[in-house]
């Protein structure tokens, strides 16, 4: 199939071969004619079981969020659940429920800073850590360590380090005349939380970039060396474009992760001092202190899902488009 297609595809104006444009697996159905009946049953059984898990624990809860967001559900079995219409949504947008505006800003800052920071750091690290050799291997273990250690260990480690009273950071920074309550300060808490999130997750991004770097044909670099291409130019013109698939994946992981997870924020500050992102807000409204507003929390979750889609889908489309352009 491929050869004939390639022959039939007209080449580009500059003579470089163009990839045949097939619809790949998205093409028309071929049908499982070759599978025996028993195997077909197995296939359907497997597919349906897996789908059941996905629907029951992925889609149904999101639908549940929507339903609960229209009620004043408190999870108490003996209490009545009333339909409150759109009041949970309107109270999000009026100043009556403070924290929501701040949560949007916090989420925006968090997502952008973590995505850019994590990818930048990972790229920098991957560059050196993809080499063979003992030093690079140790480096890879160290860099991957934070995510392997777990969110509580990471959170508590940094709380220890940034303890305003007895911590090393406080001592070090006071030598420069900087004093702060760190995680208790409205101006330091968010940057610190962003830093720890990046610190924890950079390992996984580095891994992805290393995979991407290793898949680049070394002959490309040799050709560049022969042509005397400098380091910076090599990075910009050769490495970075060739890393497009890895960059797409990493950006997606980082954006979706920053939007939807708040485990680290919970451990570090529980959303106080300006670090309350939308996810943290939904959790605190539902399960945090003296609240039990599960309806409102569900409304915030629905909003969060919509926001994630609104940001991530176009971003992903953009990155895929770039990939296709670079690789065609």
């Amino acid at each position: 199939m491929t050869q004939a297609l390639q022959a039939a595809t007209p080449s580009r104006a500059d003579g470089r071969p163009r990839q045949p444009r097939t619809r790949g697996w998205r093409g028309p159905r071929r049908g499982p004619q070759l599978l025996s009946r028993g195997s077909r049953v197995t296939m359907w059984a497997g597919l349906l079981i897996a789908l059941a898990v996905y629907v029951l624990f992925g889609l149904v809860p999101m639908a549940g969020n929507v339903i609960i967001s229209f009620t004043n559900y408190t999870a108490l079995p003996s209490a009545p659940v009333n339909n409150v219409g759109f009041s949970n949504y309107t109270s999000m947008f009026t100043s009556q429920a403070p924290g929501f505006d701040q949560a949007i800003v916090a989420t925006g800052v968090f997502v952008v800073a973590v995505t850019i920071g994590q990818n930048a750091l990972a790229l920098l690290l991957a560059h050196k850590l993809q080499r063979p050799g003992r030093a690079a291997a140790i480096g890879r273990v160290l860099v991957f360590l934070p995510i392997a250690l777990g969110v509580t260990v990471v959170g508590l480690t940094w709380i220890l380090i940034f303890n305003p009273q007895e911590g090393p950071a406080a001592s070090l920074l006071s030598a420069f005349g900087v004093h702060s309550a760190f995680f208790g300060s409205a101006s330091w808490a968010m940057p610190l939380v962003i830093f720890v999130q990046i610190w924890q997750n950079a390992g996984f991004s580095t891994l992805v970039f290393i995979g991407g770097l290793r898949s680049i044909d070394p002959q490309v670099y040799e050709a560049a060396d022969i042509d005397g291409v400098g380091a910076w130019r090599r990075l910009r013109r050769i490495t970075f474009p060739l890393l497009a698939p890895a960059l797409t994946a990493n950006t997606l992981f980082a954006v979706v992760g920053a939007f939807t997870t708040y485990n680290l924020i919970y451990v570090l500050t529980d959303g106080q001092y300006g670090t309350q992102t939308l996810g943290m807000l939904a959790f605190n409204e539902a399960f945090g202190s003296f609240q039990a507003n599960l309806g409102y929390g569900a409304a915030v979750s629905v909003f969060l899902f919509a926001a994630t889609l609104v940001v991530a889908l176009p971003l992903m489309a953009l990155l895929r488009y770039r990939e296709r352009r670079l690789f065609s």
Binding site: A50, Y54, G58, Y221, A298
Partner: protein, 270 residues
């Protein structure tokens, strides 16, 4: 000929050491300090003591918690990877009607948050609240969409002739998957497994909402409780952190080559 470099290897080494090694060393140092020494001079190591470790081990019941963590993470992510394969194969081979729509449905799953509010209600309704099988089952779905995405991409690159040849000879569906597809899609399987594993491993919101019996807690939850109850006994806490981290470090150091090699094959080009 010397290849031009942007950042020197030494500079990188220093960066990695300061950023990633120092915090770890600080915690390890704390774990070996006596509480009295820490109160007086928190930044310098004193004569090493190991009393903190027994205190931490007993105080936080770390043994059971470590076992729980491993159980939950490994089983849930193995399940999501395998279930992902069972969805991905029919989609990639176009064996069912509406495979494209199905793919899109799974794609949306990449953006779903872990909806604890309805899951709390659902868990109680389905008797999945506060027990091990329930907790594991509730954590299978988050890794599923990525597994499907990666596997569809990789399976597409396996020639269809392979299936046809095997099936014409009467090979069963599952045995074909296990014997042929799994080895060939190993990179995607490993990345999906790892991603799922790390998700469950790093979950503290899940244990807080979905578990109430302390003997079921994973380490993330156990250590968190331990923190509040020990006030300013930071040395004990540091020892707890070290204990909780050791198995993971050992395991990762042993397996990192496999993982790196897995990401080699550009499993993400899809």
């Amino acid at each position: 000929m010397r290849r031009p470099r942007l950042v020197s290897g030494v500079a990188m080494g220093v960066l990695v050491a300061i950023l990633f090694l120092l915090p770890v060393l600080y915690v390890v140092m704390l774990a070996f300090e006596t509480p009295a020494h820490f109160l007086n001079s928190p930044l310098t190591p004193g004569t090493p003591a190991v009393s903190n470790f027994s205190g931490a081990w007993n105080g936080a019941d770390l043994g059971v918690e470590l076992l729980n963590t491993v159980l939950y993470s490994v089983v849930a992510s193995a399940a999501s990877t395998l279930l992902g394969l069972l969805i991905a194969f029919p989609i990639a081979r176009r064996l069912i009607r509406g495979h494209s729509a199905l793919y899109t449905t799974l794609f949306i799953g990449l953006f779903l948050p872990f909806s604890v509010i309805p899951l709390f209600a659902e868990a109680r309704m389905l008797h999945l609240y506060n027990n091990r099988p329930g907790y594991i089952l509730l954590h299978v779905e988050p890794g599923l969409p990525l597994a499907v995405m990666l596997l569809v991409a990789l399976i597409s690159s396996i020639p269809a002739e392979l299936d046809e040849a095997a099936w014409m000879e009467g090979a069963g569906y599952l045995s074909y998957l296990v014997r042929v597809v799994v080895p060939l899609t190993r990179p995607a399987l490993i990345i999906a497994f790892l991603y799922g594993l790390l998700g469950v491993w790093n979950d503290i919101i899940g244990p807080v909402v979905l578990l109430s019996d302390p003997s079921l807690f994973p380490v993330t939850r156990g250590i968190y409780n331990f923190f509040g109850s020990n006030e300013s006994e930071w040395t004990l806490l540091a020892a707890g952190i070290v204990i909780a981290s050791l198995p993971v470090v050992a395991l990762f150091a042993a397996s990192q080559r496999q993982i790196i090699r897995a990401s080699l094959a550009g499993a993400l080009k899809g």
